[in-house]
Symmetry: C2
Subunit: 239 residues, 2 copies
């Protein structure tokens, strides 16, 4: 057995949400909607807001996050091109459970509630696709949840770097991947303080596992990072 690691690779599937759907469905969804460019840091929707539609990411990168009463921000998930935002709230007929903001300048198409639900009620292809997507999201989320609950910060950081590398890789390219995120965002993904995050990055760097700039991280020893993430449990020989 070689060194592979679980989950995280499931984003590839979520990106295909619209792929393979009947062209008329896709057209109805995307043609009518207005595409808007959100600048870095701009908020697309806020927790507690009433959904009026869904958002389709044409290009860019977006964070889903939740802010606690004490002002701490926890990032739930990073979305990339091809992914859909805000459909959970629409489907459940509730207010938004989280907020969404652009991490980099991003082109995003708005699809109104009427159009989206209309196509959904008409197209069993879309509804099947959504059900499958939600099932997948769930398993990814269960993993993140368990990691958060049972692993220490070092392991979580290593794990997240591996997932993020995948997420920041340019489609098709096999080049080295720059994970472009502020230290604060990286801390808020990992669920730790930024100071702790910085210190761990420093360690990883000294071990020659990663390279860093003030605004990005690059993995240079994937196996080493996997070892830090410590899947299989401490003692390799188990028993």
């Amino acid at each position: 057995m070689s060194t592979q690691f679980p989950s995280g690779n499931f984003r590839l599937k979520t990106e295909q949400l619209f792929e393979g759907l009947p062209p008329e469905d896709i057209n109805q969804l995307l043609i009518g909607g207005a595409t808007h460019v959100y600048r870095k840091g701009e908020i697309i929707f806020r927790e507690g807001g009433i959904p009026t539609g869904v958002y389709h990411i044409k290009s860019g990168k977006v964070k889903k996050y939740k802010t606690t009463p004490t002002g701490v921000e926890q990032i739930i998930y990073i979305c990339s091109a091809g992914e859909l935002l805000g459909y959970h709230a629409l489907l459940s007929e509730e207010r938004y459970a989280d907020s969404t903001a652009a991490l980099v300048s991003s082109e995003i198409t708005f699809i109104s509630k009427e159009v989206f639900l209309g196509v959904l009620s008409r197209s069993s292809a879309l509804s099947n696709r959504l059900l499958k997507l939600l099932g997948l999201e769930f398993s990814g989320f269960v993993d993140s949840f368990t990691n958060l609950a049972t692993r220490n910060v070092r392991e979580r950081l290593a794990f997240n770097l591996l997932v993020l590398e995948d997420k920041f890789r340019e489609a098709g390219k096999t080049d080295a991947v720059d994970i472009v995120l502020s230290r604060t965002d990286l801390a808020n993904i990992t669920g730790t303080a930024k100071e702790t995050l910085v210190r761990l990055l420093k360690e990883f760097k000294q071990k020659n596992l990663i390279q860093t700039t003030s605004s990005s991280v690059r993995i240079i020893d994937r196996e080493g990072v996997i070892a830090e993430a410590n899947f299989m449990g401490k003692t390799p020989g188990k028993k």
Copy 2:
């Protein structure tokens, strides 16, 4: 504004999954399936297993959990009568992402993959219901996730007690609720060590917030527990 607290009350909705569906749908789903009684502790399905259907809880209580390589168990969710198990994996066409075991003796009806997917493809009512349910689950899960990431053990325990009280309340009754769970399970829900859990329960007890037996916990001062959970942030007066 009185003292209410977020989420957790969303189980009520998830229980209605089949309610209001066309009777023929319900019949097809439940009539054919075999009902089996799982004793306390019995495992219904295991993480990594290949799903062959879904399970409908007729009575009892079930935990969804995941076991880490080091043997730590993290409980993801507690299911009650009326809820469905194992559909995420079926929808996503993947293996089970988590395991399921009976917390108490439980009657559970198995619905085969063919039957379930058959009804699903035929009934837009069911598929809409499922989409809505998944959306709801998501917002609940986002809350749990954020709690885990940003709150200390004391706050998480208080929060979980409130959610569990709801979950263990007998339908209709307004009596005091006994949360019947082993200390270990309670610790695995909260994401902490059982020793830490015990010490916190002791504190809560000394503050007259709860009563305990060796196998259950009962909230006697709901407001007090809410205060420990510390939603709104430390300073009540905010600003």
